[in-house]
């Protein structure tokens, strides 16, 4: 187990929510990197290594789904979570399955369960990576 902090990318344009998520992830031993829109998140993603991405859907410049599409081009299996008020409308469109979005959380969410789900997905992801190697 490496001791370097596990970086989680958080794309959320609502600064209050970004702060809440960032607080919870920090408290759970992650190093959160928050970006106020999808474009900034995509730039940050390209310049660093993240164990998971957590994104809002509706953001300036790049939506969460667009961000996921970009992420998938290089990391097809990285845990990717959507946290959105449009969860009911997105469910059933098939996009979650198509982009292998790990889970789509509806707002308001429990920060605790979000972190738990991210932990679990990271665990699974690293196990399957290890199996491949």
């Amino acid at each position: 187990m490496s001791t370097s902090p596990r970086k989680v990318l958080i794309a959320e344009d609502n600064p209050g929510l970004a702060r809440v998520l960032s607080f919870k992830f920090k408290a759970s031993g992650f190093l959160p990197v928050t970006c106020a829109d999808g474009q900034l998140a995509w730039e940050a993603f390209q310049g660093d290594d993240f164990v998971a991405v957590l994104s809002d859907q509706e953001m300036p410049r790049m939506t969460g789904i667009e961000l996921c599409r970009n992420v998938r081009s290089s990391k097809p299996n990285l845990p990717f979570f959507l946290v959105t008020g449009r969860q009911l409308e997105i469910a059933g469109t098939g996009i979650v399955e198509e982009l292998k979005i790990t889970q789509c959380f509806a707002k308001p969410f429990s920060p605790g369960s979000v972190v738990e789900a991210v932990e679990e997905a990271i665990q699974k992801h690293s196990e399957s990576e290890a199996a491949v190697l």
Binding site: D13, G16, P60, G85, R86, E89, T93, I95, K107, P108
Partner: protein, 520 residues
């Protein structure tokens, strides 16, 4: 409303207008600010461009620190700007250090003020969130309280509904909420009940439900950007199924997000989102639980009624000649209880007791119970066991615990010569004293196969004569004061016809129960 338009994320999920923040724009703005504050012309240079190259490179290497270059009596100052270009301005040699510090300070101040702005907007956002959460919490709490079960009556469903819908509409920021319930056989939709303005005709609401009910079985249906001539005036809505265990009670439809509630922040979301949907779902579930409880309560009351009816039937089946006696005594007793100022609860209890007062006669043998002649002392002793027998039959039924006292003591005499316990005067519970008067009155005035019933005048005379001996004098006085009312009850009373069951048809049993409610 086309499904494709409302379901595909491309159209439902709105993309904010693109704002391109060019780094050079930002630096240009800061250069302008520097020029204004320093009172000098400020030019922008990139590290790789022409100009005072060495000075610019030094500035790039020392963010936040201005670099100077002397040229005789004047000199140049260079300062790295946040987006990567370098601001350069001229200054007198003797003033150059001061100008450099001045520039640094202007930039630092600007940075600090934008940091403050950023933090301020975060604080605003958090405060907005906390405010919303407070509203939601208090809404859920107040709904939990208002949805408490009514203590007695099952009426006033509409009141309960409105007391739920009104605060829910404001909590959701919905212009109006329609509640549509279906008949218990689920075949028909009832007229919508609106929390505020009626936004759609009933037929349109019903059509909306028919369209969405299948989707609503799985999750709340949220439709933003509704542009359908069939639902004129409907911009967006949420539809939630109101279901408890196995039964669908109906649907709640929140219509149109109130425009002024959409927050004035860049990340505000238009229309209804999962935030409102989950609140609506929670509330609807509470409402469903409430409706389910009402149903259970009704079932319980029906079962109770049926049990009482079955017991009364059991007595009547034993002694058909006194048929209707229990019901009449029940009606007389309730009236006498009312007239003597008892509470409504007591009156109802005494009515039930009247129905069941002779249930112990089940234990009396037929030849004694149905003997059409004067009883021997031994037979009388057997009859007199029916009060105790009644107690034994009923005492294990928790729901009928309250009637035990009247069943047991309706044959006590006021002077202490009655049975089973020879209680005296006011020691006899009021239920027993009231029943004793009414029981005697009915026994005297009703017809039997072997004798005609007495006249009212004669029965009144006997009651008056036994007042204080057999019966409570104050009750006898009230009874006789209102004798016309009791006579009217007696004359209006129609003994229930015995239920007749269908004979088997073609050798198959035809079991169709014919309920005839007797407990009001």
């Amino acid at each position: 409303m086309s499904d494709a338009a409302t379901r595909s994320p491309a159209s439902t999920v709105q993309v904010q207008p693109t704002i391109q923040v060019q780094p050079t724009n930002l630096d240009q703005k800061l250069a302008d600010l520097l020029a204004e504050q320093l009172g000098r012309a400020v030019s922008i240079h990139m590290a790789e461009s022409d100009g005072p190259r060495e000075l610019v490179l030094r500035a790039v290497a020392t963010p936040g620190r201005a670099q100077v270059e002397h040229h005789g009596v004047s000199g140049l100052v260079a300062l790295l700007l946040p987006a990567g270009s370098v601001a350069v301005w001229e200054s007198a040699a003797n003033d150059i250090q001061r100008s450099a510090r001045h520039g640094e300070t202007v930039l630092a101040l600007n940075r600090a003020s934008s940091d403050i702005q950023q933090l301020q907007s975060e604080v605003d956002s958090l405060v907005a969130q906390v405010t919303n959460d407070f509203e939601e919490l208090s809404l859920i709490r107040s709904l939990s309280c208002s949805i408490a079960l009514p203590s007695r009556s099952v009426d006033g469903d509409d009141d309960i509904l409105l007391s739920t819908l009104l605060p829910l509409a404001s909590g959701l920021g919905a212009a109006s909420i329609a509640a549509v319930f279906c008949t218990s056989d689920k075949t028909e939709l009832l007229e919508p009940i609106w929390s505020h303005d009626k936004l759609l005709p009933a037929a349109a609401v019903h059509a909306l439900i028919d369209n969405d009910r299948e989707d609503a079985e799985i999750q709340p249906v949220v439709r933003n950007h509704v542009k359908d001539p069939a639902y004129q005036g409907l911009n967006e809505y949420m539809l939630v199924e109101c279901r408890s265990v196995e039964r669908v009670h109906g649907w709640l439809i929140a219509c149109n997000r109130v425009a002024h509630l959409v927050e004035d922040v860049p990340w505000a979301q238009v229309g209804f989102t999962t935030v409102q949907a989950s609140l609506m779902e929670t509330t609807t579930n509470q409402l469903a639980a409430y409706l389910h409880n009402l149903q259970l309560l009704k079932q319980k009351e029906d079962l109770f009624t049926d049990v009482v009816r079955a017991l009364v039937n059991a007595v009547d089946a034993r002694d058909p000649y006194t048929c209707g006696h229990s019901e009449r005594v029940a009606l007389f007793s309730r009236r006498l209880a009312t007239l003597s100022g008892q509470t409504p609860e007591t009156c109802h209890r005494i009515y039930l007791t009247g129905l069941l007062h002779d249930v112990g006669k089940i234990a009396v043998p037929d030849d004694v119970l149905q003997k059409p002649a004067k009883l021997t002392p031994e037979e009388r002793a057997i009859i007199e066991t029916h009060t105790d027998a009644g107690w034994r039959v009923l005492h294990q039924l928790e729901a009928l615990r309250d009637v035990l006292v009247g069943v047991l003591y309706h044959h006590e005499n006021y002077d202490g010569t009655g049975y089973p316990d020879k209680l005296v005067g006011e020691n006899i519970p009021i239920d027993g004293r009231i029943l004793a008067v009414c029981d005697a009155f009915d026994a005297m005035t009703s017809n039997r196969p072997y004798r005609q019933g007495m006249s009212i005048a004669k029965a009144s005379e006997i009651l008056r004569g036994g007042s204080g001996t057999y019966w409570d004098p104050s009750l006898v006085a009230v009874f006789l004061d209102h004798i016309d009312q009791f006579d009217a009850i007696r004359l209006n009373h129609q003994p229930r016809a015995q239920a007749v069951r269908q004979a088997p048809v073609g050798g198959l049993p035809m079991l169709a129960p014919v309920p005839t409610p007797i407990v009001s």
